[in-house]
Amino acid sequence: MSKIENLELLVVGGGPAGLSAALAAANYGIKVSLAEEREFLGGQLIKQTHRFFGSEKEYAGTRGIDILRKLIDEVNKNKNIEVLLSSRVLGIYEDNVVTILNDHKMKKYYPQSIIFATGASEKFLAFENNDLPGIFGAGAVQTLMNVYGVMPATNVLMIGSGNIGLIVSYQLLQAGVKVAAIVEAAPKIGGYSVHASKLRRLGVPILTSHTIKKAIGKEKVEGAVICELDNDWNEVKDTEQLIKCDAICLSVGLTPLVDLLKQRKVKTTYVSELGGYVPLRDENMETSIKNLFVAGDVSGIEEATAAMIEGQIAGLSVAKRIGKNNKKEIEKRIEEGKNELELLRSGPVGKKIRKGLSKLGLNHGKNYNENFSEEALDISHLMKTGVPSEENLKNKLPSEEKVFDKGPIAISECFQRFPCDPCVKSCPFNAISENGNINNIPYVDFEKCTGCGICVSKCPGLAMFVVHKNFSETTSVVIMPYEFLPRPHKGEIVKVFDREGKYLCDGKVIRILDGKFQDKTAAVSIEIPKRYYLQARNFKVEE
């Protein structure tokens, strides 16, 4: 007879959702086995070198990879968690017996409960020659660069302007790869405006209402033909243009990885807002099959923060079901998790998720404060181009010019409502406020602001600047966030650019804050001719 090992809880997938689920259950005494296909934990988090948005409680302002280090550390310390690396779940059968390939052996397990945190796979795109070498998924590009330190190409055309497309484009630039353009079929940018603005400042064009028609090249990608789309997504005649590049990176969305759930005949349904076919589930993350839970992207595509909270809810739900103690406390913590998710999804960006969840019959929407579901400002121009309108800028500047006379002040160039608060939390003078709701746009109280520049390094969107208009008779100083190598040195002359990446003037580096506190987002003070104090928002170091 073959041996079957009994388990209390099997968590499938060692990404943010799976790690959080394992910890939540193990902290209440549940014996957890965590199966991860790869030889290391982390899922997609391991590639995320940028700071996360969200609330401070869920690690906002911390880089994805640092969040991961904390989670892994906790998992390794927890005696109730057994981590199975290089362990691919092969099958799940009607009697809930699970087979796992571990150490080149197919082993059988019988878990009392299972949490599937299998994540997502990338969507593919149909266009001519889409099988040419040099066509990558954004995840592959990120894996090559950030996990293995391999440069994927020298000049990349990015297809898709969701957060992944924008973030990977920025990381490509950091790695020294040129980004020829970002092509977006929709009439507006899909990701957060702050990510788009960063790229525009670096001179990357974002072409909304454009699509790729074909890849060009003999043996490998040598270019791509793109064209414009009208409002009905039809090609506009005579708008074809050839873009030279040696790689095309597809970032056209993710879709839940439900294969294992389908093996077990969990009910799934198509919900476009959640990325594709998703499992039906309740608010406690339990699927149509009892004791079988889901968490993270497999239950619908969202951000890592939501995945971690969903993981906690799933883990706690298992602890409540099969654990012996602390039921009341666990219940309270599940409620807290649900409230956090609600807050996270309550802004305009969460609208789509809310719509998708309602299609699954989750009345998740009933407590949302509708005041926060619309944008506060008209950001249509910003979302089309990545560059804020004059109106937008005016809204965040002091109402009177003389305010600039008092000395350096922080200028926030954050115009979109989404849940994020590191600027508010970082200010030692309480000079930045979101008016009590994390989804609000932050505003600087120029009376309280001393222009210290702490927020410049803390804003995950690189949207905080300090402007000292009257630095001298003829010059101003702007403190800008900087995440590139090489770092400038004091006294160096650098090229200064505006919000569209257009060259403005030369500037002189007068101070660099680049210590542990800045955590790799240096705050660099650049002295520029006075007339550019409202335009100068980026600089480049000549190599």
């Binding site: 092969l90 099958g91 390939l101 197919m106 593919f124 149909a126 020659n129 990885l257 076919y277």
Partner: protein
């Protein structure tokens, strides 16, 4: 667009033309198309092509996506050798 140059299933090299022909012939589920074209039978097991084929069916037949099912998925998930199967499931006593 040259449908012959658009690949839908990368693992099995199935083109958009072949998918559309299959749908025209009356194969209007992802599972049927898998069986007649081999799309989704390669190493990735339909992760790349499944959604694209479902959308193609939806567009050509007018059926909403909500009414289209993905292909069946059966164990094992991914490739496995016979040796790996036997090593794990047969104990010393069985020999």
């Amino acid at each position: 667009m040259d449908e012959n140059k658009v690949i839908i299933c990368r693992c099995e090299d199935v083109t958009l033309k072949e998918i559309r022909n299959a749908i025209r012939e009356g194969f209007t589920t992802v599972e049927e198309i898998k069986r007649v074209t081999r799309s989704g039978m390669g190493p990735c097991q339909g992760k790349t092509c499944g959604l694209l084929i479902a959308k193609e069916i939806s567009q050509m037949t007018g059926k909403p996506m909500e009414e289209i099912e993905l292909q069946n998925i059966r164990p094992p998930y991914g490739g496995i050798t016979f040796e790996e199967v036997t090593k794990g499931t047969i104990t010393e006593n069985d020999k």
